[in-house]
């Protein structure tokens, strides 16, 4: 097209500025590493308070404790990235520990797969209810939380079920390279694999577009509903895997075993710097967040903080961590 009629777009460069604002500032770059900085600072503070803390033994214990929380938080992070929330993870995890203890005598080594698959399917049902019935994810999973707790109580006769066959999960208590507990290694592996799959495929732009602006994602023809259902499925499956870790460590399944992990998991996600409004964040961030949360829970009693103060400090540190880690340039609305 070289007809003289065409207005040369370069002819009026002053008409509008090409870029309204510049590249990310140094402060913004630091902010994106803030969760890691917070983790290191916390580790340093605990070591100063009690020099014995920084030993291989207590660190190994800490990361082993963190494994179920890492998996729970990582799964729920996907739902949060899509702009939703999954409140059912802890209750589903408790229910899954009951499944595990009940199915182990019959299924043996296949129990792990069965529990993860069942929990994933339950997550998928919640996702389908959310997209088909158009009910907010907050409500669907709040209802799910209640239902799963009740089912767990009913099928377990409201008490713990002992795990007798310990061979099936004995491998989870091994160590990788001598020091890294297998359960933590598996947790990191899950984060790595899911992150990699998202990163290398169009899923990343689907998830982020859905989280930032669902209407724009829909009008661009992206499979918004399928992505959301997938996120809930992975979140459910992660709850199942976390249940396997918990049940194998406690040698029992219990209808309330993981119930106290819901708020730590949500805390791990936000401390990691994932925007609760969706779009911005990653599973790696939640891994870091889960480590921060675990260090607080494990470390504060070790350094001699009285248990009453522990909760105050815990709450204050989480709020402070979010204040530091939240990248406000990426989050348009703080709600």
């Amino acid at each position: 097209m070289s007809t003289p009629v065409i207005a040369d777009p370069v002819a009026n460069p002053a008409a509008e500025p090409a870029v309204v604002t510049g590249a990310p500032t140094a402060a913004q770059r630091v902010t994106s590493f803030m969760p890691v900085i917070a983790l290191v600072a916390l580790l340093a503070a605990l070591t100063i308070a009690d020099p014995d803390f920084l030993t291989q033994r207590s660190l190994t214990a800490a990361v082993r404790t963190s494994a179920p929380l890492v998996v729970l938080a990582a799964g729920a992070t996907l739902v949060v990235l899509c702009g939703g929330i999954d409140l059912s993870i802890a209750a589903l995890c408790s229910l899954s520990t009951v499944f595990f203890a009940m199915w182990l005598p019959d299924l043996g080594g296949l129990t792990i797969l069965a529990v993860v698959a069942a929990a994933g399917a339950i997550g998928a049902v919640q996702g389908i209810a959310h997209v088909v019935l158009r009910i907010p994810s907050f409500v669907v999973t709040l209802g799910g939380m209640s239902i799963f707790s009740a089912i767990a109580l009913v099928i377990s006769d409201a008490g713990p079920i002992r795990v007798i066959d310990r061979d099936a999960t004995a491998w989870l208590n091994l160590y990788v390279a001598g020091y890294v507990p297998m359960s933590f290694f598996v947790a990191v592996l899950v984060v790595a694999v899911v992150s990699l799959v998202i990163k290398l495929t169009p899923l990343e732009s689907f998830v982020r577009a859905t989280g930032y602006s669902e209407s724009a994602a829909r009008l661009a023809g992206t499979p918004v509903d399928a992505v959301k259902v997938a996120a809930f499925t992975v979140s459910g499956a992660c709850a199942g895997l976390a249940a396997v870790m918990l049940a194998s460590r406690n040698f029992s399944g219990s209808p309330t075993m993981a119930d106290n992990l819901l708020l730590p998991a949500v805390a791990a996600i936000v401390v990691g710097g994932t925007a609760i409004t969706g779009g911005h964040g990653s599973l790696w961030r939640s891994l870091t967040g889960a480590l921060v949360v675990t260090l607080l829970r494990v470390g504060l009693p070790i350094v001699g903080v009285p248990s009453a103060w522990e909760q105050i400090l815990y709450g204050a540190i989480i709020v402070a961590a979010v204040a530091l880690t939240l990248d406000r340039s990426k989050v348009l609305i703080i709600k």
């Binding site: 097209m1 007809t3 009629v5 065409i6 207005a7 777009p9 370069v10 009026n12 460069p13 008409a15 509008e16 500025p17 090409a18 870029v19 309204v20 604002t21 590249a23 290398l200 495929t201 169009p202 990343e204 732009s205 982020r208 577009a209 930032y212 602006s213 209407s215 724009a216 994602a217 829909r218 009008l219 661009a220 023809g221 992206t222 499979p223 779009g279 911005h280 990426k330 348009l332």
Partner: protein, 518 residues
């Protein structure tokens, strides 16, 4: 405008109710107001006319304190004022009836009328219903309305709610001893003709004790109800005319200005060829929630504009063709194949593209990069198997950045940091990267863009049409629809009522279309 040079204090009888001098307001990339002057005299109805983007809304917002001008002055009854909020404006006796109604639907008319300025209607934090009812009734009496103050707002008709709004705005009389200035922004756009007559009666009644600024797209209405009309174009005042003896065509000429010989719409680029035997898009008896029995045909390489007033249903037809708005009946075929409109995925897979009117909310994902936004829809073009191949993406995105002259520092830059025109080009490119586009649905593609960016979008539309893409255009103004379209469909109350041929060299005038639209 002799009023500017007189000293208002010396001759109170001729003091202007409201006066605007040299008002300027810039937004990034756009001069919304570029030196606007306006005079509203005591007890007159002043019409305000101008195309979309002429600066009417910004001017009105500045008058009620919602927008702070960068430069210029606002004078109220000979006194220079600075308006920081709606309350500020109300204290100076200026109130506005908003285009989108601002009443709370689940409250009574009385509650809505006193809301925010309850005064004696509340004692110790508790509503005193008899006082509230009396306060509301006083307001309704001013306009002679018989609406029950205790009726729930959502049980009232649109026209009745508008009366409640006017009654509510008239409460500003209590804040000032002077006659108020009432602004009516597009008050007739959703009214039936009988209701419009009632509204006009009200406006004439208002003139007895107030000044009125009346904004409407319908020029015959403006001429009917106003004493004078002030015309805006491109953020500037282009003149004012007394309505006595004026014709809609005169106003239109002022609103458009001389189009001149520069080919703004790149008409010279339009290629005429013999129409292929079979049209690309065939819509038969399409019905939805807001439109009925719409028939439409678009040939390959053709641009078809759909025009209609607010509420004509044209936006919903456009969305329905993309599967983003439910259809109740009818059949849509693309190149002879039935189009699946149950969701947007089917349309996308068939080579239909849609550029939404709300670019920042629906068109793009602001925090994501130019590349991610451009590749969001046609993922296959940047993938090998299930994997995104960064090299493939880089080559493709850079090619389109160059072809559409998108000004961005890098393909990885956040799209939200680009100017409106460049953002829109990225959104358009999204449909072009795979080279499979057959039908492009453009919903106000130039909204909010400045003239240079508009021109580039027009040129792109021409090039796409010449390459065989069928285009449906919902233009931002009648002039744009006429300038760009080969044919224009007029929609009225959800039905396609008229088809106007619009060939190069034989274009209809905006007035020809306005006649069909109302």
């Amino acid at each position: 405008m002799s009023a500017v040079t007189t000293h208002p204090q010396e001759s109170p009888a001729t003091v202007n109710a409201l006066e605007v001098r040299g008002l300027v307001k810039h937004y990034p990339g756009v001069k919304a107001l570029d030196g606007v002057d306006l005079v509203v005299k005591q007890n007159e109805v002043l019409g305000l006319a101008g195309e979309n983007g002429a600066g009417k809304s910004t001017l009105l917002k500045a008058l009620v304190g919602l927008v702070r001008p960068d430069a210029g002055e606002i004078w109220v009854r000979g006194e220079k004022v600075r308006l920081r909020s709606v309350v500020d404006a109300a204290d100076h006796g200026i109130g506005m009836v908003f285009q989108e109604q601002s009443l709370v639907p689940n409250l009574t008319a009385a509650e809505n009328i006193v809301l925010g300025s309850e005064g004696a209607g509340v004692r110790r934090g508790v509503y005193r219903w008899d006082t509230m009812r009396r306060l509301a009734q006083e307001q309704l009496d001013k306009i002679g309305s018989h609406i029950d103050p205790l009726a729930r707002t959502d049980s009232l008709s649109f026209a009745e709610r508008q009366m409640v709004e006017i009654a509510k705005v008239l409460r500003i009389e209590e804040r000032t001893s002077h006659p108020p200035v009432i602004i009516l922004d597009e008050p007739t756009s959703v009214l039936e003709s009988a209701e419009i007559e009632t509204l006009f009666t009200q406006v004439r009644r208002l003139r007895e004790f107030a000044s009125v600024v009346f904004v409407s797209h319908r020029l015959d209405e403006v001429l009917d109800v106003c004493d004078r009309v002030s015309v805006l174009r491109g953020g500037q005042s282009v003149g004012e005319v007394p309505t006595a003896g004026a014709e809609p065509a005169d106003l239109h000429r002022m609103m458009i200005g001389s189009t001149g010989s520069d080919d703004h719409y790149h008409d010279g680029l339009a290629e005429r060829s013999d129409e292929p035997a079979r049209p690309r898009l065939v819509v038969k008896n399409l019905s939805g929630r807001t439109f009925r029995d719409v028939d439409l045909e678009v040939h390959a390489g053709e641009i078809v504009g759909i025009v209609g007033v607010h509420g004509s249903g044209r936006e919903d037809v456009c969305r329905a063709l993309f599967g983003a708005e439910p259809t109740l009946a009818g059949e849509v075929t693309l190149d002879g194949e039935k189009l699946d409109l149950s969701g947007t995925r089917g349309a996308v897979a068939s080579g239909v593209g849609y550029v939404p009117a709300e670019r920042k909310i629906e068109g793009m994902v602001g925090p994501m990069s130019v590349a991610d936004n451009m590749m969001l829809t046609k993922q296959k073009a940047r993938c090998t198997g299930p994997m995104v191949v960064p090299k493939k993406q880089a080559t493709l995105v850079d090619t389109w950045i160059e072809r559409l002259s998108i000004r961005t520092p890098h393909r990885g830059t956040q799209i939200g940091r680009l100017s409106g025109g460049n953002q829109q080009k990225v959104v358009l490119a999204r449909w072009l990267v795979a080279g499979d586009i057959r039908l492009l649905l453009l919903d106000h593609p130039t909204r909010g863009l400045d003239i240079g960016a508009r021109s580039e979008v027009y040129r792109l539309m021409r090039e796409l049409a010449n390459s065989g893409v069928a285009t449906v255009l919902l233009a931002d103004s009648l002039e744009e629809a006429i300038g760009m379209s080969d044919r224009i469909i007029v929609m009225n109350d959800g039905r396609a009522t008229k088809e106007v041929s619009c060939p190069s060299g034989g274009k209809p005038t905006p007035l020809d279309l306005v006649k069909e639209m109302v």
